[in-house]
């Protein structure tokens, strides 16, 4: 079953990687095992639960049913690319503040899906957020706090002073 390796170029969180992969290798395995980015988790391996969601050229894909060779020459964003060092992205901060996570396993995929929603619809209604994240399963939270977190992050992401990691935000109570 050993197959010939194929050379691909992936730009992941802004960094370019040239890799040799088996054509059958999944994008999620290449991210986790070859590039050492285990923040993208695997939930169902058949494209249903959304846990492995990453952005491929700014559109969400399920990395568990995407072949790495399909991402050749393209740009991938993962949860590891959201924060700037210790400074969290507004979505990460609002998920923290609103308790949009418990076990944290669905969280990276949920965050990347939320990034896509807010990039496409910068000022969403609660229903748009609820329907938007229905693509991703969470077994812990019951979703309400996730919806609240995404809604709270929206104005921060579309503000005229876009999120700047060098400016500290006010510490929360």
């Amino acid at each position: 079953m050993t197959e010939e390796l194929q050379e691909i170029t992936l730009t992941v969180n802004g960094r370019r990687h040239v890799l040799a992969v088996q054509p059958r290798r999944l994008l999620v395995d290449v991210l986790r095992d070859d590039l050492g980015l285990p923040g993208t988790h695997i939930g169902c391996e058949h494209g249903v639960c959304g846990t492995c969601t990453v952005l491929l050229d700014d559109a969400s894909v399920r990395a568990c049913i995407t072949l790495a060779v399909q991402a050749d020459g393209r740009s991938v964003r993962t949860v590891e690319g959201l924060a700037d060092g210790m400074r969290l992205h507004p979505l990460q901060e609002e998920f923290w503040d609103k308790q949009g996570l418990q076990c944290g396993y669905c969280t990276p995929g949920m965050l990347m899906r939320a990034v896509e929603i807010l990039e496409q619809v910068p000022d969403p209604t609660p229903d748009q957020v609820r329907e938007g994240i229905a693509s991703n399963l969470c077994r812990c939270t019951g979703y309400q706090y996730i919806v609240e977190a995404v809604l709270a992050a929206a104005p921060r992401m579309r503000s005229e002073n876009p999120w700047d990691p060098t400016v500290p935000t006010e510490a929360k109570a």
Binding site: Q22, C44, C106
Partner: protein
Amino acid sequence: MTGTGYVGRAVRRREDPRLLAGRGRYVDDVTEPRQAYVAFVRSPVASARIARIDTSAARSAPDVLAVLTADDLAGHCSGWRGLLSWPGMVAGEQTALATGVVRHVGEPVALVVATGRGPAEDAAELVEVDYEERPAVLDPVAALEPGSPLVHEELGTNLCFASPFGSGDVDAAFAGADTVVDVTVRTGRHTAVALETRGILAAFDRDERTLTVRISTQAPQMLQTLYARLLGLPENSVRVITEHVGGAFGMKAFVYPDEIAVAAAAMLLDRPLKWTQDRYEAMQSDTQARDERVTASLALTADGRILGLRSQVVSDAGAWSMYPRGCVTEGVQVATIMPGPYRVPAVAADLRVVYTNKAPLAVYRAVGHPPAILVMELLMDEAARALGLAPDEVRRRNLVRPEDLPYTSATGNVYDSGSHLESLERAVALLGPDGLEERRRDAAARGRLLGVGLAAFVELSAPGAMFYGAKGAPITAHDQVEVTLQPDGSVTVLLGTPGQGQGLHTTAAQVVADGLGVPLEAVRVVSGDTGVVPHGSGVWASRSAVVSAGAAHAAAVEVRGRVLALAGHLLEADPADLELSEGVVGVRGVPGTRVPVHEIAAVAYWGTHRLPPDLEVGLGAVGSYAGPPYTFNNGTHVAVVEVERATGLVRVVDYVVVEDCGVLINPDIVDGQIRGGVAQGLGGALLEQVVHDPNGQPQTSTMLDYLVPTAYDVPDIRIEHIQTPAPTTTLGTKGVGEAGTAGAPAAVHCAVNDALARAGAGGVFRQPIRPEDVLDALDRAPASR
């Protein structure tokens, strides 16, 4: 605890920044040098004798290191029986890999070790197994008929356990009743669907003869004891590491055959081995739950007072009694929790737990409560209809009242405190009954039937040592927490229980900061390594806010006492006159004397020459919890649903929870537990069911087939708290992790039946309530209505 400290405050969870950054450490995220990968060969049939296994093709496949079967592990891993000392309970002997017989689809038969996961899975397909199929036993009632095929021939029966429960003269209650109502209810077979599948990374150090197991589990210390026992190692040579766990819900509280097979293979092959379960394996081999067939009747007076309750419960245990908790807890709780928050003077429950050729049934969030509460609440609604009373009124007339407390149920459960009636009144008020008629008309204009469902419940939480331990399982309640004040005034907390997202590091820090008298930021919490932390029984049964927090408080108070004794010497004051708060020692009533706690601690570590020889200088203490046999939280849920007449689809449009879990350590964390719990209960009511074909093949082996709630299915939930402190627990806490899941299936179900009744249709008495069940009920309604 007063309200001035950290307990009671919604501080942000300290666990979260790492998880939000994608820097959690779940089992599959960690890799060992020399690590190889395991893939399993699993039974494709529900019942068969294994006639032959040929591993030769797999052994010679590329990158394969070994192929092991039961014969290879014999002598390296003992077998076990999932027995508890319930009178008459029987269980077959189980081995890590199936020995001679397979009893459910997905049972592990052989394992393949290769240098990569892909080659291991490829080679697993080359293992040839000849199965001599037998008729599968699938219906637990038919399984008790004479002549039924047997799941375990050695037992001579499919009956795992049978027992009556209850007390009081039930025959007299029914003979004297003005009204008797009855229901026959079937609940769906669930599985937990933790988003992180099970997994293990096992490494054996052949020189030290130590086994290190990194595993996704709820009960690391229990696994340490049992792995040591089954693998023939001293307990001090087994270390279980559990960092982050991506959901568990009761399903990860066992010795699983596949997991211990990996550990045994790692020892045998002298090579670190990783196995990460895939979802297909999870749907076949994770524990399942809730599959109950219940017939129950309720005897009442003409004015709606309950006289007695009868029930027959048949619990479908699947093929194995899981080790070590066994398979009967679910059924026992269905039988004994059923009277719930109501005054039921006489109860006669008859439980039978039956083996079938399915994946094992075991504990799952709110063990047994959802079917028990569902049956009781359906009976209450039937009684309301029979007597012409409003659903809340018939409940009001029967709920335990403050003057009844402490109340002992006819099944022997003691409710130490609570707000059973008040929670109902507050939930009805929070729903806003005045607006309901308008909401009904609005729904009707959109072709939908509005229904309202009530569920008043109690939830048994924080069970003590008698629950499992006294019945022979290594599961106890005396969890321990170690608190150490460091020389610089910082505090280290070693927590026996790691948790799976319940925020236990945060709540432990809150409890210790208050109990010791230091700022929250000074406290660092460590858990997840049995080589480091003290004893604990794991995270299950809504216990951590009681048991773990109680132990943390005990340790903190002990250290505080030692600090004050030292300070008394150094300040030449009576320790009884000293106080320690926010990291500063002061003399009561003397404003000028304030000494930072680090100055005291520094003396205890490095300046002991300043102390008399008989003074205790150690500033670390292990606290343990020794509480009551259990406590109970209580509450009332109200669900509002809309049933679409044309399609039978049900949507939950409003949801109210009034919960009394005693003292709240962190209100946000409590609300998170309730919301997530309700979502899981809603899934049980409307979506979730493991389905088998007539040969025992699971038909729900992907997440496309087994439906769990999405954001679109779960409404916003309105929550109010009543805080009746538990009189018997350290902090007055009662635990809450399962309360949402306990009440929701009944509230949602009663709401659907209310909507149907308003259209003149009879109710549905199975879960999940599928659209076709709703349409059937509507079709059967008399046209005149």
